[in-house]
Symmetry: C2
Amino acid sequence: MEARHLRYAVALAEHEHFGRAARELGIAQPPLSRQIADLEREVGVRLFDRTRQGVFPTAAGEAFLARARRALDEIAAATVDAGRAARGETGRLRLGFIASALLDPLPGVLSRFGRERPDVRLELHEMATSRSSPALVAGELDVAITLGPPRGAGAEHLVSVPIGRDHVIAVVSTAHPYAGRQSVSADQLRRQPLIVSAGEDEPAVVAGLRALLGTDSSALGGAIVARDVHTIIGLAASGVGVGLGPSRMRAVPRPGVRFCAVTPRTPLPDLVLSFAARDHSPVLRAFLDTIRTNCPEVGAALDDRLRPQT
Amino acid sequence: MEARHLRYAVALAEHEHFGRAARELGIAQPPLSRQIADLEREVGVRLFDRTRQGVFPTAAGEAFLARARRALDEIAAATVDAGRAARGETGRLRLGFIASALLDPLPGVLSRFGRERPDVRLELHEMATSRSSPALVAGELDVAITLGPPRGAGAEHLVSVPIGRDHVIAVVSTAHPYAGRQSVSADQLRRQPLIVSAGEDEPAVVAGLRALLGTDSSALGGAIVARDVHTIIGLAASGVGVGLGPSRMRAVPRPGVRFCAVTPRTPLPDLVLSFAARDHSPVLRAFLDTIRTNCPEVGAALDDRLRPQT
DNA sequence: CACGGCGATACCTTTGAGGTATTGCCAGCA
DNA sequence: TGCTGGCAATACCTCAAAGGTATCGCCGTG
């Protein structure tokens, strides 16, 4: 049985007349008669009563037509759905990201993407840089935002693009003596209780702080350790010490704290966007496009990627 | 687009390999390649990624396949449903009947029919004989049980079959002096307060009672009038009079009442089953078959009707 | 570098969908 | 009662396209 048989049966039921149904279908009457006869033979049941007053479906015909109409609807929807999926209007995007990305690029990116692609299901997973890379390689993530490029087995199959530079700044309570300063020096910091992020998951950050404060500095050894930037800011606001973190912290206006530059300027690893090189999913392409329009410092690799659109 | 394209796409997605999918489909590999290519051209989107490791659906392909599978399921179900409808296993039966039919033939008929055809939707409408006939002619009913054959415009397009003879019996409270009697005479009845059914809808019953009691009898004029047989029995049980009704009343065993024959034996119109002569619906045929096996007095017309089964 | 597996392409065969002409079957009507 | 008109079915033909066979081109592998 072919879709043609369903279309013909539905048309015949609609026009109740072989000649008119055939004209509507753009064929002659005899082929329609034959197709309907073939269909009835295949189903093994008379589907239409041919009367002098017109052609009407039997009880079996009504049951058949109900299914036939649904089948035709599904077929039509199949093409539509495939097109929407191909344009990246539907589907799924699994994004891994480090917590600090929630400060700066993600709010804008996600709200814009959600507006442009309301039917794409977003799955958001906060995770450390070290976990994103294997998840991408294993196909458990579609895209990741990490601190520095991903490393480890399979990383050569990933495309990585810097989407934001970063450096260390300090955050203090408004009541803190440093609150009014434009910048603080490494020496000044060494004399304060410090609040830094836990180093296990992001060793690059620890390296940056060591470069600033000195490898053997006791300041780092005695520092309060927090799980993520949000905790650092919260602790700094409570006045227990001077928080050190990425300059992206400035993106969250928060009453009770002030931000100060740190001298010397201490760069942190770039914020990096990664995805599987083989992945040509249109949803990913759409997401990359949103990233590009939202992140001024995006690298040229993304432009290369976005040019050859199908 | 034809069902063939859907079947091929589904098979290809399942085997992830053109050669194996083609073998499974009973065709050679090149035709399958061409059909898939045609499908992708028609949908306007690449549905499968051909990799060294195998053939896998793209995001668009997944969306397409979901619809395709549902469409194929509908097509398969269409044949099944048509067959079931043709065998009368599904569908609808609208039955009109007089209230007294609920006493005798209907309980057995309906319970048997409901057991044999659990997926047929039964619509039951209690109505007077005079209303059944036009409802059948207008196509608002599929079958009706009436008192005597239907009359009126269009009745010649109906087939009517007697399914039960009937005569007048009396019903009295167990405390009534007649309670122990085998039969009561017309003379005895004329001396009692009587309970009879309302005559407007069933003039044939009134005619029978007149024949029994005499046209000018004051007994009928002073009788208590009830809407239906169930009320007659209830009133008789309460002792306000002697109920007169169809012998089918005996079918409802009810504490507190006794039934007596009436002399002379006074026939009532036959219980008649009617349906449109043009109606060859398999559900109707199944119902007629149930009627035949359940009603011993069914006429030969039903046998004629049931013989030429498709 | 040769080999093998796989999908695509080229070209042929054959099925069957669709077209034209005609028949058969009533219903309405003179 | 025969005539006519409308409609579906039948007969027969044509041609598009589905399917088959042979082959190519492209890698990845030993």
